[in-house]
Symmetry: C2
Subunit: 433 residues, 2 copies
């Protein structure tokens, strides 16, 4: 039996996870793939720290080029992350005709065009199942089982850290900063968890999903991003009273000649299957024209779940190598990619319904003044909660609007915030039905 | 550009759905596959009935062998169902070296060994994504994105008809027979829906999933089956009061040297993601040693969802044909299948906890008599609800047990049912935590 040699660049959490999957499940991997898949070299700047796994010292090198230039290595696994060194190494591996596996969503979202084109030019395989939803095989589903569909909607809970924080806030009534602290203490968040909570990480992942769906790179910089740091337990409680859960959603909707692509906190009905995705779990809800609504759910991060996806890619490539193919399918899965680019609708043109919380002095005529401003800006109200509990003479007025235009809502909020009867900033949360 | 010719045998609901996907999404299919995929022949005994789709009459034949023997046809799609004619046609197509796509779970579960071996012998491709969960790409996930894992647990809601009926019973308090009638009227069930509600259909699908997981056919006849027809709205309500939902579950658990494989009504905690899978939706919950808990959710039946999966298989085969491969992977995805067979644990050895509802005369000492019988049979009680509402002097006594052995529970139930203080049959529902 012949052997597939794998080289790992970056031996952090995911690198160790990948190594553990390959070693602990070696027998089933061999049976399924038909070849023995072994790690031949591991590159990391730190080759001293004990990672709790047994690795023969001869596998280690400090120089990633030792891995890339090893003629016996068939598959290079890039797990250092970031968009500088990782990009350089991946491009070098591709140029040498190596198959490449990566979990690097930032790189694929921000420099995808260059990477994908290089892979096609050199006929190198490039796989990245682990880049979205870790072990959830969503990229495989889009390229495979769902590929007969025109995807109409993607709703993703794509960042486990922010979902953990929101779940804590919802279940325990914690403030954002307290929930972040809990997440940091439990190892679910970096300190500070900026890219997780500001929507950047989820937007990276949404860009990767869109690229697969359309067969061409998505313009990452045009994806609207808004984080969860200004949400309060009050808003989450009011949302629940109105029948909704609050999630950080990555949303794509295919319109006629362009798409919506945005990441922000959103309210979804409590009985929606996505509303039941809690804690560190991720889920991707996809509606296709024939398949209908589908959901994919699992742990969206972590050593083992991410390692599971990295090794699935390695196995898939090994199967191809076994039958004599390499890079037979382009990385985005379209043999004839489209000529036109993905056009993302400017955020101000979004039409959706909104949750608005206005905090105002408890005086006669306040509600009429507020609804007047909304009305002048073409925003209709579908329900109102005015809570009795005055705090220093102020009351929160919570409203759900009918469908309205984002630019109108932003304008109305500016006008509201300038009223001297307002005692706090107006909160808006978009609603996804 | 060259062309992939497809032949469809069986032009019922799923056949029409498959044709619709191929024609309506022809452009995206061509772009993704790199070849034009067209339907060249359709065989059905009835070639007169208008199915609401435009098909040129020259495509039709009454003789399936016209399709199988057409040298231009690359992929044969079997959609007639059943285990007689379908088997004959599939084997003939395989013998002629054709690629075969089928949605036929009954055939794969009951005659899989013969079919899979023939496909390997003749090097024919054989794909069956549509056989489990219709458009949910669960087979692709097991063969692909999850394939680095040792799967430990499968919990499936695999029959949409019975899930629709149970949801109706739970949400509207209907009796079983009323809910069945609603399902029939709405087109979610055949009349009578025997194989759907007695667990056979779900067991067929579980057998297919187990075959993929282990790389060898599962012994379908050893899968325990119990239907939903004896459930009452009372039991569903009591379950809810105890914090559970009742679902028809297909369950597989991998033990050391054998597995549990069973289909029966089961109680699952209300906050389990599976408990939120309602109406005609299906879902498969899979726990793998590295990936952790995963869920796959979608419409598990119907023209379009099933057509989506059939066409995904056609596309995948077309991609292989384009690069010159055919039948390169065995149908169960294991290059080296195991020598040993799948051993299913006898049902009487199952250890789990149970819901018991005993209906007895409301007399002093009854509870002690019942708990005495349970205790003598090594069954411990973890909670009891005794409801005040007497009906003709009887009260239901609802209990949750600690983990107990199935054979002990069956023995205790027999003893209980022989007590003359009992006024109704004892109901048992197994609990999945």
């Amino acid at each position: 039996m012949s052997v597939i040699n794998v080289g790992i660049i970056g031996f952090g959490t995911v690198g160790v996870g990948t190594f553990e999957v390959l070693t602990k499940n070696r027998e089933i991997i061999t049976n399924r793939v038909g070849m023995d898949v072994i790690v031949k070299k591991i590159a990391d700047l730190d080759i001293k720290t004990d990672r709790g796994v047994e690795v023969h010292h001869s596998l280690f090198t400090k120089d990633a080029m030792d891995v890339i230039d090893d003629p016996d290595i068939d598959i290079i696994v890039e797990l250092i992350g970031g968009t500088t060194k990782a990009k350089e190494y991946i491009l070098k591996a591709i140029e040498r005709g190596k198959n490449v596996v990566t979990a690097n969503k930032a790189l694929l979202a921000e420099c995808g065009k260059e990477i994908f084109e290089a892979a096609e030019r050199y006929g190198s395989g490039l796989a990245f199942e682990a880049s979205v939803g870790a072990g959830i095989p969503i990229i495989g589903a889009l390229k495979g089982g769902l590929s007969a569909n025109r995807i109409q909607t993607i709703l993703g809970i794509l960042n486990g850290t922010s979902n953990f924080i929101l779940t804590k806030m919802a279940k325990e009534g914690l403030f954002y900063s307290q929930a972040v602290q809990d997440a940091v203490n439990l190892g679910f968040a970096e300190d500070p968890p900026t890219l997780d909570v500001d929507g950047t990480d989820a937007a990276h992942k949404l860009a990767v999903l869109l690229s697969i769906n359309f067969g061409t790179t998505a313009p990452f910089e045009d994806i609207y991003r808004e984080g969860i740091d200004s949400l309060t337990p009050d808003d989450i409680r009011f949302a629940r009273e109105l029948g909704y859960s609050v999630k950080l959603l990555a949303i794509a909707r295919m319109l006629d000649d362009r798409i919506e692509a945005r990441v922000h906190p959103a309210m979804i009905p409590k009985n929606h299957i996505l509303a039941n995705v809690n804690s560190e779990y991720n889920a991707i809800y996809i509606d296709g024209d024939f398949v209908g609504p589908n959901l994919y759910y699992g742990l969206g991060a972590g050593k083992s779940s991410t390692g599971s996806a990295v090794v699935a890619d390695i196995m898939n490539m090994s199967r191809q190598i076994r039958v004599g193919l390499k890079g037979s399918a382009p990385p985005l899965g379209h043999i004839h990619p489209p000529d036109k680019e993905i056009m993302i609708q400017p955020m101000e043109e979004l039409i959706t319904s909104y949750y608005l919380k206005v905090t105002a002095l408890d005086r006669p005529g306040v509600l009429s003044m507020i609804s007047g401003i909304l009305g002048e800006n073409h925003i209709g109200i579908s329900s109102v909660i005015q809570k009795g509990r005055q705090i220093n003479g102020s009351v929160p007025i919570v409203m759900l609007t009918h469908e309205a235009r984002e630019s109108d809502v932003q304008k109305a909020v500016l006008l509201l915030n300038n009223l001297d009867i307002l005692t706090g900033k107006t909160v808006t949360i978009r609603v996804e039905e």
